[in-house]
């Protein structure tokens, strides 16, 4: 009961918001307050639960609380809270109403929590779909904007398709082992792995690669990221992705851990292709949302490197990189939102011209986020990449690690186009003034990026001292 208390509190807050909508109490401020209150209560409950030991099975072995799950739940709570702050101006200007929007975000977060803590294919699938169904609606939330509907449609069709592929894989794994539990699966896997298991494993891998937007299953990402409302794009690039990576890590290193030799070729190939294609495609983009979308494809490749490594450093790198990514990518999208004007303004690379003279602090914040995305020492992104590349080299994946470092250099190239525009290019007309929530979100992201870049021990001590995943 106590393990899922955060999820229960979030679901209660989400349902309360729907109830408020029902009794026609549609004040945006009330909705924001309830949603942030629900998230704070959930985070507090999570911080106060101290299980007797990490990784004990609860609810007949369907969920567990291990250090990885504990940590990533905070990451997704942080993502949802930041996205709620970013959405304030955007949703109010569009007149779309905060109440249902906040409810959908909270319910998606409930799904993410279950995706993170599940040790059973059934609860994992239900968590995944709870998250996905809310996300499809959120992608189309900008009612009346054609491209938002288009994004919702693409996300829906490809999301549902990938869920079906994943499910088919799960059903084959069930056929091979006779169990749906991830930890039992590891024990019951036939040795040597039979055809049924191998086919299932490949389909599960394809389904999960779809969910984390890795090459060759990334084609939906740029359109969905560009078309969805910008706060939701920020949400997609960290929340569902972090949760999907948690499940990915759990399935492949816990359940399929004994057959690492079979799947590491498959995932290694996907990892290298993702890093290369994502970062190279980002170079030619003129729309900042699309550029960040391709860069987030590239980042998924970096995270896959940690998954491939199959060691403590790799797993720590996955968690720390996602944590650092939370601040960097949400921050970058909040700057895009800060610059937003009518008719999709603020989205082109040229819209960043002369930003350092108009808003020196915002330009500085964007610089910090971009440096963290590149992985420059002193930022949180560097520590994440340090563990990812270090883990990969320890695990014997030298070539993918070298390609990853080269691709980080490529990312510096396209991000510096933005920096040059901000600091060197001549000035452009003034933007509108923004409310405090966006500025607060930018501030939190800058503080997080610098603090956890200079003082990573605050988090890494916790991550390195205990086995991260329940076995």
């Amino acid at each position: 009961m106590t393990v899922i208390l955060p999820a229960i509190l979030l679901a209660a807050a989400g349902l309360l918001l729907l109830l408020l909508r029902l009794v026609n109490l549609k004040r945006d401020g009330v909705a924001l307050g309830v949603a942030l209150g629900g998230l704070a209560a959930a985070a507090l409950a999570l911080a106060l639960i101290r299980p007797p030991a990490w990784g004990l099975p609860y609810f007949d072995g369907t969920v567990t609380l291990d250090p990885a799950g504990f940590f990533l739940q905070f990451v997704v709570f942080g993502a949802t809270a930041l996205v709620l702050l970013l959405s304030w101006d955007y949703i109010r200007e569009g007149g779309w109403g905060m109440t249902e929007y906040a409810a959908l975000l909270l319910l998606a977060t409930v799904g993410m929590v279950f995706l993170i803590i599940s040790t059973d294919f059934l609860s994992l699938y239900v968590g995944l779909e709870t998250m996905a169904l809310a996300s499809y609606v959120l992608a189309g939330y900008a009612r009346g904007e054609g491209r938002s509907f288009e994004a919702a449609m693409k996300y829906f069709v490809l999301g549902a398709f990938s869920s079906a592929v994943l499910l088919y894989g799960i059903s084959l794994i069930y056929g091979a082992t006779g169990t749906l539990n991830l930890i039992e699966t590891a024990r019951l896997l036939p040795t040597p792995p039979g055809k049924l298991y191998l086919a299932g494993m490949v389909m599960v891998a394809c389904g999960m690669l779809f969910k984390v937007a890795a090459v060759p299953f990334h084609l939906w990402t740029p359109d969905v990221y560009q078309g969805a409302p910008t706060p939701i794009t920020a949400f997609f690039s960290i929340g569902p992705k972090a949760a999907a990576f948690a499940a990915f890590l759990r399935i492949f290193s816990t359940a399929f851990g004994t057959t690492a030799r079979e799947w590491s070729i498959l995932l290694g190939l996907a990892c290298v292709l993702t890093m290369v294609a994502g970062n190279l495609m980002a170079i030619v983009q003129d729309n900042v949302k699309r550029m960040l979308a391709y860069s987030s494809i590239g980042s998924a490749g970096f995270v896959l490197l940690g998954l491939l490594a199959q060691n403590t450093w790799g797993a720590t790198g996955v968690l720390y990189y996602l944590f650092a990514y939370l601040f960097a990518i949400t921050g970058a999208f909040s700057v895009v939102l800060f610059l937003k004007t009518k008719e999709y303004g603020g989205e082109r690379v040229d819209d960043f011209r002369g930003l350092s003279r108009r808003h020196p602090w915002i330009a500085f914040a964007m610089l910090v986020f971009l440096l963290s995305l590149i992985g420059v020492p002193g930022t949180a992104g560097f520590v994440g990449k340090f563990f990812l590349f270090g883990g990969a080299i320890q695990g014997g994946f030298i070539l993918p690690a070298v390609i990853g470092i080269l691709m980080s250099a490529v990312s510096a190239w396209y991000f510096f186009r933005l920096v040059v525009n901000m600091y060197i290019a001549p000035e452009e007309p003034e933007t509108e003034r923004r409310g405090w929530p966006v500025v607060l979100a930018v501030g939190v992201c800058v503080a997080g990026t610098i603090l956890f870049g200079l003082w990573p021990m605050a988090v890494t001590r916790f991550l390195l001292e205990t086995p991260l995943l329940a076995r």
Binding site: Y136, F149, A164, V165, L167, S171, G175, G178
Partner: protein, 100 residues
């Protein structure tokens, strides 16, 4: 004697038809139907294996899949309705507005 293998072949056929449908058809309603076909192939697998292993969990899973599929259909049709109102068509290739 019908064994799990027979069901596996049938479900693989169903899944294949559904997957090809998603890839080649352009009508959004047909896409939704194809996805439902894929999910039903999964259900067939789960129930066949549940019978083979003498384990109820597979059948429970199939019921969950049906429930989620119903939710998915509701949201999918909602999105398709919104697109029809906005663009006046449900053909996927006429909806595209963004590059790429």
């Amino acid at each position: 004697m019908i064994t799990a293998t027979h069901y596996l072949v049938l479900s693989a056929c169903l899944f294949g038809i559904g997957a090809v449908g998603v890839m080649v058809r352009k009508n959004l309603i047909t896409l939704l139907l194809s996805i439902e076909l894929m999910l039903n192939a999964v259900n067939l697998n789960l129930i066949a294996f549940s019978h083979q292993w003498g384990d109820m969990l597979g059948q429970v899973f199939a019921i969950f899949v049906m429930a989620v599929a119903a939710g998915e259909a509701a949201i999918g049709l909602g999105i398709i309705t919104a697109i029809y109102r906005n663009r006046g068509t449900v053909e996927a290739d006429q909806v595209r507005g963004m590059e790429g």
